[in-house]
């Protein structure tokens, strides 16, 4: 019973890890521009993430080492420095876009400009990390993320041509605008295969004290969880492919995204979209901040752990504080630009 609950929570958590502003935006762009044709890119990204996440969980369960620990111990600190700098740089930029996503969602829901929400988003993210435990972040926020299932329900209720969707799950050559097609395919893969996910997952496995007994749970969580996340991204793509091309709308701006659910469910859909975007981006921002702190702390051999009190691992807490809190000085979207 306990293991079944862990699997269920793990699957839900994976949705939080998989779906974020990048995957929502790229899936919607692909659906609006090429219909179902780029479904294969979402599926391929999901498959890659499944295998990589499973491997990072397996390393943690068997060796009790996170990926960062394993890299540093096996190859030495000098070798480890290159991925550390690269991942920190990328995570820092992606964190800005996720905090920006939370601000945009709040702007959509309230009509108050996103710049005003930047300090609120940063402080809420930081407070959640400072005050709560790994379990709360892993399960609580991710359970809220189930609101994103509305994309799958919406896609199902639009009655797309499932045969065509199935065919599009296999790669095909573009019929027009090849450069845009491949650009979107690469963007989808880039948004799906985020390095922070593996560092977060292996660190989480060590925090949860996984051992060899968790190998089957790891396999189920990695495949079903990431599969579930992929399904939601495919839901976004299907909704965009069915609803936007008849109007001739391409997705070029975040203002166009709420039309996906609003067109289908009216005002409820509008609220659902705002909530989905806010929660998915908040979940991703929390995972990114933790992932950054994990990587730096593990790299330098500091104490680390979201379940510890901040005073017991001060440098770990300082790392995510430094990553998050300077953001209100400028809005997250300015950082992206």
């Amino acid at each position: 019973m306990k293991k079944a609950l862990e699997i269920a929570l793990g699957i839900v958590t994976s949705v939080g890890g998989f779906l974020e502003i990048g995957s929502i935006a790229t899936a919607a762009q692909a659906g609006a521009a090429f219909g179902f044709q780029l479904t294969w890119a979402v599926v391929l990204g999901g498959l890659c993430v499944m295998f990589l996440v499973e491997m990072s969980g397996r390393i943690a369960a068997v060796s009790k080492h996170t990926i960062a620990d394993a890299l540093r111990e096996r190859f030495g600190f000098n070798f480890f420095l290159a991925p550390l700098i690269a991942v920190c740089l990328v995570s820092f930029l992606v964190l800005a876009s996720e905090l920006g996503g939370v601000c945009v969602a709040l702007e959509i829901l309230t009509g108050i400009g996103y710049q005003w929400w930047a300090p609120v988003a940063a402080i809420v993210t930081w407070l959640l990390l400072w005050k709560t435990t790994f379990g709360f972040i892993e399960n609580g926020i991710s359970l809220l993320g189930l609101v994103t299932v509305s994309f799958v329900v919406g896609a199902w209720q639009l009655h797309p041509d499932w045969l065509q969707v199935g065919r599009a799950a296999l790669p095909s050559l573009p019929k027009w605008d090849g450069a845009h097609y491949w650009f979107l395919a690469v963007s989808i893969l880039g948004a799906s295969i985020s390095p922070y996910l593996f560092y977060f997952y292996s660190s989480g496995a060590v925090e949860d004290k996984w051992d060899e007994g968790y190998l089957s749970i790891n396999r189920i969580v990695a495949s079903l969880g990431m599969g579930f996340g992929t399904l939601i991204s495919v839901g976004v793509l299907i909704m965009a492919a069915v609803l936007l091309p008849p109007h001739g709308i391409q997705v070029d701006h975040y203002d166009q995204l709420p039309l996906l659910l609003t067109e289908k469910y009216g005002h409820t859909g509008f609220l659902l979209f705002g909530a989905s975007l806010a929660i998915a981006c908040l979940g991703a921002a929390l995972e990114l901040s933790l992932s950054l702190a994990y990587m730096v702390a593990q790299g330098f051999g500091w104490n680390w752990g979201e379940n510890e009190k901040p005073r017991d691992e001060a440098r770990f807490s300082l790392t995510y504080t430094v990553a998050i809190l300077p953001r209100p000085c400028r809005s997250p979207l300015d950082w992206i630009h």
Partner: protein
């Protein structure tokens, strides 16, 4: 990015983008008229569409209609909004259809 940059067929892309922004403004206005989208969101989205259409310099009709639509949403004038949304829809359709 380099490949995408090399593929630019500038006039065709600008026309498609203008059609897309015109259709976006019209659809947002319809959602606002139906009570599905709140006024602040509709105002923001239509303002962005109007700015983009103005930058693209393809259709004066779309630029004027989106500006009038923005005023209509600000003033809560539903009749004017509905009329401008129709003009934008027609313009988007005309821009999408192949020219002789």
């Amino acid at each position: 990015v380099a490949v995408a940059g090399c593929s630019q067929d500038a006039p065709g892309k600008r026309t498609a983008a203008t059609a897309s922004w015109s259709a976006t403004a019209a659809l947002v206005a319809r959602e606002w008229l139906a009570g599905s989208a709140p006024a602040p969101y509709a105002e923001d989205a239509i303002r962005n569409a109007n700015t983009e259409i103005g930058t693209l310099h393809v259709s004066e009709t779309a630029r004027k209609a989106s500006a009038h639509l923005l005023e209509a949403v600000r003033a809560g004038d539903r009749t004017l909004a509905s009329r401008q949304a129709q003009i934008l829809d027609d313009e988007a359709r005309a821009l999408r259809s192949p020219r002789p």
